[in-house]
Subunit: 531 residues, 2 copies
Amino acid sequence: MRRFVIGSARNLIESSRQKYQFERSILSSPYRFLSSSPAADSPSSSSSSSSTMAHPVSLNTINPKVIECEYAVRGEIVTLAQKLQEEIQTKPDAHPFEEILYCNIGNPQSLGQQPITFFREVLALCDHPAILDKSETQGLFSADSIERAWQILDQIPGRATGAYSHSQGIKGLRDTIAAGIEARDGFPADPNDIFLTDGASPAVHMMMQLLIRSEKDGILCPIPQYPLYSASIALHGGTLVPYYLDEATGWGLEVSELKKQLETSRSKGITVRALVVINPGNPTGQVLAEENQKAIVEFCKQEGLVLLADEENVYVPEKKFHSFKKVSRSMGYGEKDIALVSFQSVSKGYYGECGKRGGYMEVTGFGADVREQIYKVASVNLCSNISGQILASLVMSPPKVGDESYESYSAERDGILSSLARRAKTLEDAFSKLEGVTCNKAEGAMYLFPRIDLPEKAIKAAEAAKKAPDAYYCQRLLAATGIVFVPGSGFGQVPGTWHFRCTILPQEEKIPAIVTRLTDFHKSFMDEFRG
Amino acid sequence: MRRFVIGSARNLIESSRQKYQFERSILSSPYRFLSSSPAADSPSSSSSSSSTMAHPVSLNTINPKVIECEYAVRGEIVTLAQKLQEEIQTKPDAHPFEEILYCNIGNPQSLGQQPITFFREVLALCDHPAILDKSETQGLFSADSIERAWQILDQIPGRATGAYSHSQGIKGLRDTIAAGIEARDGFPADPNDIFLTDGASPAVHMMMQLLIRSEKDGILCPIPQYPLYSASIALHGGTLVPYYLDEATGWGLEVSELKKQLETSRSKGITVRALVVINPGNPTGQVLAEENQKAIVEFCKQEGLVLLADEENVYVPEKKFHSFKKVSRSMGYGEKDIALVSFQSVSKGYYGECGKRGGYMEVTGFGADVREQIYKVASVNLCSNISGQILASLVMSPPKVGDESYESYSAERDGILSSLARRAKTLEDAFSKLEGVTCNKAEGAMYLFPRIDLPEKAIKAAEAAKKAPDAYYCQRLLAATGIVFVPGSGFGQVPGTWHFRCTILPQEEKIPAIVTRLTDFHKSFMDEFRG
């Protein structure tokens, strides 16, 4: 999308970058902490001669890495959608639709999905433990949620859910998560390898901060990719080394492509530090085959790359989820063979508890000295939020057969999953019927990423409007229907191809209207621009 | 403490820094995003010739900024304390004390302080809104907490407490916070200036990230300071420009000192971007006088510095809290005159809800273009945790006269505050009676920062043990008594002076034992090393 950014903003970015390079070049010695004594000991000097100065902060004087960073999921289209929503609120007939349909972000509860009751019962009881002993509580909460709340409180020193915890998270909760990983993978997991974080994003930033020393350090990232990665690499001043997923084979990840991109970047003087793999893909939704994962592990081991795995427990019966740790261990590779970080979040999965900001990373294959550095950086922020920590433990240990909540829990979970599957199918079918559109299958993520072949005239119109063609399409779609997609240019794509990401999360009863509006819009758009 | 760091670690830091400088010097052109097409289009190359490579991550290959960063509040002494605690658990008579007394960190609920009931009632109801309509709920929760929960839910689109919110935080909660600021200051506050964050730490990082472009950018920081600031400046690659608080005048902040340090750093080629002020002081505990604040505002305005104010609502009746925004506005300075960021957190104040990770910053005096950049960076992490957001609104709008909870709320609050005042006085008196120790008054923070004149022999013993003298004292104290202080060298201090930080938070009934143990230890320590 950058090459379509309007001229002036682009120039600003360029000029501040040049300034930055210039300042770097005149550096003669590193001042990191100015050694100095109190003023009484320093040479007396007249007070500042400057009178009122220019405003201290402008686009020309802020960190250019901040300006370079982009985050399409909450970008221009979403800002426009929020504006339209406000207009509808004050003037209901301002636009040819009654509501904005947010398909831009994986945020299921904002679209009406209900939380899992058991999880919320336990959270409420941990927030207000004073009611645990009261008789009315028995009538309001399930017996196993009360029991679970007691268990969790007993794992917290002083039962203090309002205290900072250990900087990696409450030990007892990490024990539960490690046990859940072990049960899932069939290989041991160590609670001391778990770092609980406020969602997965801070964990990703922490690893980028650790690995990136300068723009000569590269991170291999899939294209298309979830833009957290490109944003984090930009903010930390590294270089994104792209590898392209192959749309023709259902967004396949080919090790030959990894190798070629690695060598190309090495020939340009880049030290590649890590490989990011998103499984299931985001925005592409594919689930990696185990054989493919083995080849990826072997590649990282051979090339000395840290494997950064953005993983999600897949609950689609046809596709089995294999964590990269399980795959590595099943190949006989242990701590000494491969450095592997697995990122998980409570925002994903059927429960979709995005606002709780729970997440963790499992860090293996790093030496004790480097682990200490990761711990130190975690400790600067003290700890992640305790409710998010508790929730991360709950999703790894939901009610079991025989527990009072088990049946209602299973029914809620299965209801969400089967509805998601129906919605995915309906939308996938609808996309496939559109002229010039082809659509991948949703294999376990909550996204579809259809490809759209746009007529030459539409591409010209987009250029005239200083937009990427898919951004132009998405903006027209929003203005006509209230439907919010994210243009593929926000995720990266093979040059000359165009896509958009659509979540499958709107409530089931709204899907038919989305299909109708989209189909009608698409037809008139194509009619308008057909050659 | 760095100059006492053991040789090998120090060398590692030096060598990785040199490497970093070297890599910077050979840069010829900026590669930020390697432009490249899919492998099919790139020149074919043989697969990597490297066989098994060295471990990809070591202290020599990670980001040296991470190594430079230090965070004493959870440093070596605390690691030792955790080890001792484990030893006591397995063998109760392993040490000459029964428990570890954590006075190192402002974490009141970990030491037995109970949360404010009203806050927790509302949080629990928002976590599990399904019970709001049930009859048993009336018996368990106060009427005003139920009403408040409904109000908050109505401010959240779809009443979805599990959804990502606006990246600045839920608008209705920001309205409440802005109204609270307005009532406190008597000047308008704009909800669009509020950014809700997971505690104050991410907000501080966000501003450092925005302002620091290279090590030529400096941030004026108090010495002693809360080490979040030195850590964040180090992580973002800037230069900490120290200004010394004057212990002789109760840790006074003199503008003449600011000016001299500013000019010294400018003469060394540093561009000073911002001034950090912590009020009440941390670790020093003093509350700034309004006249002093005015002089600081004037200084920032004249010198074109962003004022980064780490502020806390002070509830001590003798000392009145004035926010820097109130002071600026009362001087007639508005948006165009001074760039000001105020950081607040729910971890501080009488409620001490550290584990909830609620906080916010109020950002004023930045242009719309820079504000957009701040919003973009906030959006990369999607949003802060919703429970923390709710709590931040509750502390700014507690129960009012006439509300059902008002009396119990007031009693809980006043009980905490009066107990804190008694504890502070007892500890302050005890410190003042120790040989060679002088102690400041606690004026509204939860810390004391006594100064200790150590005998020459003790300083020599510390050097032999490769410790800073105050770190040596704190370690000996811990080993003998189980009491955990943070050495002053972790916060910075005038060279040749020694201090430690002690929170006033242990439960009141434990204070006499702390005083006795500390007094006995101190006497024997001084006897051991007296000249």
